[in-house]
Symmetry: C2
Subunit: 201 residues, 2 copies
């Protein structure tokens, strides 16, 4: 039986960038199948009284995070460019990713969105950027984008965000194993995979 690992992320989350870009190859090594589960951090932040990312609210922590992310990306051989706006609105990208549930292009789409944002400093709330990514993947961008904005898809993202809260997820990336074990942060990817692989046997 192939073990699975749920990879919960918000496209606006900085540490989800290295996590997403390296997850595929690390998971393949452990023979674990990843399930991409985009959700929105915003509602959880609001419930804690935050109207933006804690990295903006707590200045020293935010300054550290950008430097740490830069170092991490350098170590991983990932390009890094701090976007002018942070956090970006991740609603459109998340809906498109949800529309890609079960589709071959979903994984590559997620990787490309993170790379556009944190590798190139581009806007991911810009429909042209999303269309460009989908087209590069050989997908009918306007059809997918139209579908992503239907009530059905909107409701699925909302439900997925609520599920994240119910599972005790408070940040991103978070990895959740089939037996409900939570691992928070890019730093915990390996531990999560080990746990998932052990239980999958």
């Amino acid at each position: 039986m192939t073990a699975t690992l749920d990879f919960w992320f918000d496209f606006a989350s900085t540490y989800s960038y290295p996590a997403c870009l390296r997850a595929r190859s690390v998971a393949a090594r452990d023979n674990v199948k990843l399930r991409y589960r985009p959700f929105l951090l915003g509602p959880g932040f609001k419930a804690q009284g935050w109207d933006t990312s804690p990295f903006n609210i707590y200045e020293a922590k935010g300054r550290y995070m950008w430097r740490d992310l830069e170092r991490l990306c350098a170590d991983l051989g990932l390009t890094f460019r701090q976007p002018e706006i942070f956090p970006q609105n991740s609603l459109l990208a998340s809906r498109v990713a949800i529309a890609g549930d079960g589709e071959d292009w979903q994984e590559e789409f997620c990787r490309a969105v993170f790379h556009a944002q944190f590798g190139q400093g581009r806007r991911i709330d810009d429909p042209d950027v999303i269309d460009e990514i989908l087209s590069r993947l050989g997908q009918p961008s306007s059809d997918i984008r139209a579908y992503a904005q239907t009530d059905a898809v909107k409701a699925r993202l909302k439900a997925q965000t609520q599920e994240a809260g119910r599972q005790g997820i408070f940040g991103a990336p978070t990895f959740v194993t089939a037996d409900g074990e939570l691992f928070w942060g890019n730093d915990r990817l390996e531990a999560a995979l080990r746990w998932a692989a052990r239980k999958g046997k």
Copy 2:
């Protein structure tokens, strides 16, 4: 030239426990000399409007932290027992550690305080516990504790706490290299040592 790495911690900090217990052997491998720099997280937390640890304020995050710490300790072969009170008052232990600056027993004292608290669930604000640790290290416990409570030592802890803030430290453990590079968290110990070792050459 031997490279050095400043190891900033608060005795009340949970992730400083595995960091402190494993730092010595990991640093020795990289031929890096650690400088133990206890400080108080409280003043920084207060400045952000927190009257206790954020792990108590943000429930889901706190629940996760205890589980994560338990797993981490199991992986490292460290005993773990969640203390009844969290965070504990770390003032006395910090002052004694400061009194041990330049002394052979300082490192072992720090390790023992963390182990008493998070490995055995004991109180570290109890003078008897501190005395017991110092005595086990062959030190004159009442003399050291009396010295630790002098105005001179109190002032040094206060100054060190202020220095932490000036260096941009917002959490513990934090590792700072000689060239001022910050690495936050037990997870960053290896990266900090690599950085320090590279620059020390």
